[in-house]
């Protein structure tokens, strides 16, 4: 069975600094996607960044980047120049490409607090 593990229940970072959130996953598939979703307090989950497993290059979206280590099954999220609006729950998720209609497998989440 596919699993996603986020080992950091809570983290905090000073505004303007860099923080890295960890995620490991386990899958027997070769083709899959990995995601980071952000859920601000009382708001819906929004996609932060997506990585396709067959792509070696790490995905980047503005201040957000990932360190994708396929052999180690690791997918960490780096947030540079942290802003107060980055305060949220962050969920790592995986999805198999193939027969599945697309159900995401989520980790438990990491609560990130950005402090002024």
């Amino acid at each position: 069975a596919q699993t996603v593990t986020q080992s950091q229940p809570e983290m905090s970072v000073q505004e303007a600094e860099t923080v890295t959130l960890s995620c490991t996953y386990d899958t027997s598939e070769n083709n899959y996607y990995l995601f980071w979703y952000k859920q601000p307090p009382s708001r819906q989950m929004i996609l932060v960044i997506r990585q396709e497993a067959y792509k070696q290059q790490n995905a980047t979206e503005n201040r957000f980047s990932v360190n994708f280590q396929k052999a180690a099954k690791s997918f960490s999220l780096k947030i540079s120049d942290s802003q107060l609006g980055d305060t949220a729950m962050y969920f790592c998720a995986s999805l198999n490409y193939g027969g599945s209609q697309g159900n995401l497998i989520f980790g438990k989440g990491t609560k990130l607090s950005v402090k002024p």
């Binding site: 996603v4 899959y32 996607y33 995601f35 979703y37 009382s42 708001r43 819906q44 989950m45 929004i46 996609l47 997506r50 396709e52 969920f91 998720a93 999805l95 198999n96 490409y97 599945s100 209609q101 697309g102 159900n103 995401l104 497998i105 989520f106 980790g107 438990k108 989440g109």
Partner: protein
């Protein structure tokens, strides 16, 4: 910007009662999903829906659950006889295409409390 909406935001019900959770997906999306998150636990997949039928469901989605797209805009999750362990946040999501090919957009969730 279009978004997925869910009603109600919070539902309180007595054990054994039926509840219907409502979602309005983004209008040009074709794939619909329900997930749930028990407090302090992972977000878990319940069911996916395409072309007016269930595409995939998890072991959580037993005979007490059903989904429907009654009128071309709403997408509902019905729990026939709620149990205490059904208390959770329920998230609806939609996407234009299957799975990872397109982003799943999530609604804000309905908090279901079963007493």
């Amino acid at each position: 910007e279009p978004e997925v909406t869910q009603t109600p935001s919070h539902q309180v019900t007595q054990m054994g009662q039926e509840v219907i959770l409502r979602c309005v997906p983004i209008s040009n999306h074709l794939y619909f999903y329900w997930y749930r998150q028990i407090l302090g636990q992972k977000v878990e997949f319940l069911v996916s829906f395409y072309n007016n039928e269930i595409s995939e469901k998890s072991e959580i989605f037993d005979d007490q659950f059903s989904v429907e797209r009654p009128d071309g805009s709403n997408f509902t999750l019905k729990i026939r006889s709620t149990k205490l362990e059904d208390s959770a946040m329920y998230f609806c999501a939609s996407s234009r295409r299957r799975g990872g090919l397109d982003e799943q957009f999530f609604g804000p969730g309905t908090r279901l409390t079963v007493l």
